[in-house]
């Protein structure tokens, strides 16, 4: 029982990061049908800035805002430089463009920074735990879960209560009709990328802390987890993205603890098999969005 609880908290901590990443992927997908394989760059770029900042003598108090701000700016910059030029193109063109952005950013760091691992210190409290009864809860997991709850509450408020949020939802549901109502396509798309970048920035803070190092391809894992979680939840559904992230995190942690010792390394493989099974029975994901007929 203790072990299960322990694993649940572990899984929720992991899943919360995935949920934030997936939500960012889903927000952009909803607006422009772009499955953004460059989403991980919003972690790679702040990751290198973190490495740079520690070399300049910064500490985590100043690095955390740096990560969030740089993720937002990177997201806006990538939209401006790459995606704004292929707006309205086929989904496949958008997909290829996002791959292109990923490879260019990775190649840029490889060429102009270094191919080797760049380390930076984790925060001092990183491995600390607090005992609750028989449970040993990592402060890191607790921090991830609490921050995620706050950010999700804030995002919900933004989407439900502000005109920007309403415009974003309207544009995601029917872009042309939203424009007919006067929603400016430029603003709503940039807003979506800013929000996506902010969510990636929050996830990035924890991801970057946990890794303790950065490489040119550091963005691949967070991107994969974010995209997978969004697919599991049902592409286009924001609630689904959050749910998908939590499910993916829990599945990883629980599988790792349940699998026999010899094959624990195959956890990822088992997760993929489960995802494949999910798509056989629910091709649209957990909370599939009904396809609106576009005439």
């Amino acid at each position: 029982m203790t072990e299960l609880l322990q694993n649940l908290i572990d899984g929720l901590g992991r899943g919360s990061i995935y949920a934030l990443l997936a939500l960012g992927v889903a927000v952009v997908f909803g607006i422009m049908h772009l499955l953004n394989f460059a989403h991980g760059e919003l972690i790679t770029i702040p990751g290198y800035l973190t490495y740079w900042a520690f070399n300049q003598g910064w500490n985590w108090w100043t690095v955390v805002p740096l990560i969030i701000v740089s993720a937002v700016l990177s997201s806006l910059l990538i939209e401006r430089v790459a995606f704004s030029r292929v707006r309205g193109a086929s989904d496949f063109t958008l997909l290829l463009t996002s791959f292109g952005v990923h490879f260019i950013v990775a190649a840029g760091f490889l060429l102009y920074v270094s191919a080797s691992v760049k380390p930076y210190p984790r925060p001092g409290w990183f491995a600390d735990t607090i005992a609750v009864g028989s449970l040993n809860i990592e402060i890191f997991d607790l921090a991830v879960i609490v921050v995620t709850i706050i950010v999700l509450a804030g995002t919900t408020w933004l989407l439900q209560r502000t005109m920007f949020g309403l415009a974003l939802r309207a544009a995601a549901s029917d872009f042309d009709t939203a424009r007919l109502m006067g929603v400016k396509s430029d603003s709503v798309i940039r807003g979506a990328f800013a929000l996506s970048g902010f969510l990636a920035g929050i996830a990035g803070v924890f991801w970057i802390m946990r890794e303790g190092q950065v490489t040119p391809t550091a963005g691949i894992n967070p991107m994969l987890q974010g995209v997978l979680a969004a697919l599991i939840g049902g592409l286009g559904s924001l609630r689904g993205a959050v749910l998908g992230g939590l499910v993916l995190g829990l599945a990883e942690v629980l599988l790792r603890s349940w699998l026999p010792v010899g094959i624990q390394n195959l956890t990822t493989g088992f997760v993929f098999v489960m995802i494949a099974l999910l798509f056989i029975f629910r091709p649209g994901g957990l909370l599939s969005v009904p396809q609106v007929e576009r005439v």
């Binding site: 005109m163 309403l166 415009a167 029917d174 009709t177 939203a178 424009r179 007919l180 006067g182 396509s185």
Partner: protein, 233 residues
């Protein structure tokens, strides 16, 4: 107020609209009728900025709005109630209306919301319901109310009676009368030709992408040669 001159719009090699011209004066209710595929929806879509135009000009209130972005044309004072209503199904009635008023200030939007609640009692009863749960007639009223939220100088409606039960069709035409009485300017595409001609001040008959007849509603109703066009033959 609205002046469309020589408008041609193509889908690939096919002209959906050929050299179509029409005018709408302030305070007028103008009908646009014709069989399926005559280009009525294309014409409204071209005016609203949804479709690329091949040639021709569209002037509104003295300004050239040809090929403007939809959000710009809306800001010029032209609002379209699109075909099939296209309400935001997963948003509530109130949220749909708020989006309709996205170009207005907060205070003005609040006033307009009150106005719509009064004009459309059925919406007031479903204020917090997701719009996807509404019946066709309710959804049509929401689509019209949503378009009115931008305080348009001219409102265009694309097939507002499409797919509605007869009693609801009556309601739509009553609504057009109410809006006319408020002094609004309206351009309506309708398949229900006879009904439209009775409701409109003037009308244009469109066939195979061309304007084939124009006149007051009464004049056109008397033209037996257009009968086939009216019934979609």
């Amino acid at each position: 107020m609205l002046e469309v001159t020589g408008l041609t719009t193509k889908y690939g090699a096919i002209s959906a609209l050929r050299d179509a011209s029409l005018t709408v004066g302030a305070g007028e209710v103008v009908g646009l009728i014709g069989p399926n595929g005559a280009g009525k929806t294309t014409l409204l879509g071209s005016i609203a900025g949804l479709l690329p135009i091949d040639s021709g000009t569209i002037r509104f209130d003295g300004n050239d709005i040809t090929s403007g972005a939809p959000e710009k044309i809306l800001r010029a004072g032209l609002s379209l109630v699109p075909e099939h209503r296209r309400i935001f199904a997963d948003m509530t009635v109130e949220e749909n209306l708020k989006i309709g008023g996205v170009t207005r200030s907060g205070a003005e939007r609040a006033e307009l919301l009150d106005e719509m609640a009064e004009l459309f009692p059925v919406l007031r009863d479903k204020w917090d319901t997701p719009a996807g749960y509404m019946s066709g007639g309710e959804a049509q009223q929401l689509a019209i109310a949503r378009a009115l939220m931008s305080k348009p100088k001219l409102i265009m409606m694309d097939e507002p009676s499409l797919g509605l039960a007869p009693i609801l069709v009556d309601l739509v035409f009553e609504l057009i009368d109410t809006l006319r009485a408020q002094g609004r300017t309206i351009l309506v595409v309708e398949q229900n030709a006879t009904r439209m001609l009775r409701a409109a001040d003037r009308a244009y008959v469109l066939r195979s992408g061309e304007v084939v007849a124009t006149g007051t509603g009464a004049e056109l109703l008397d033209r037996s040669d257009l009968f086939d066009t009216f019934v979609g033959g």
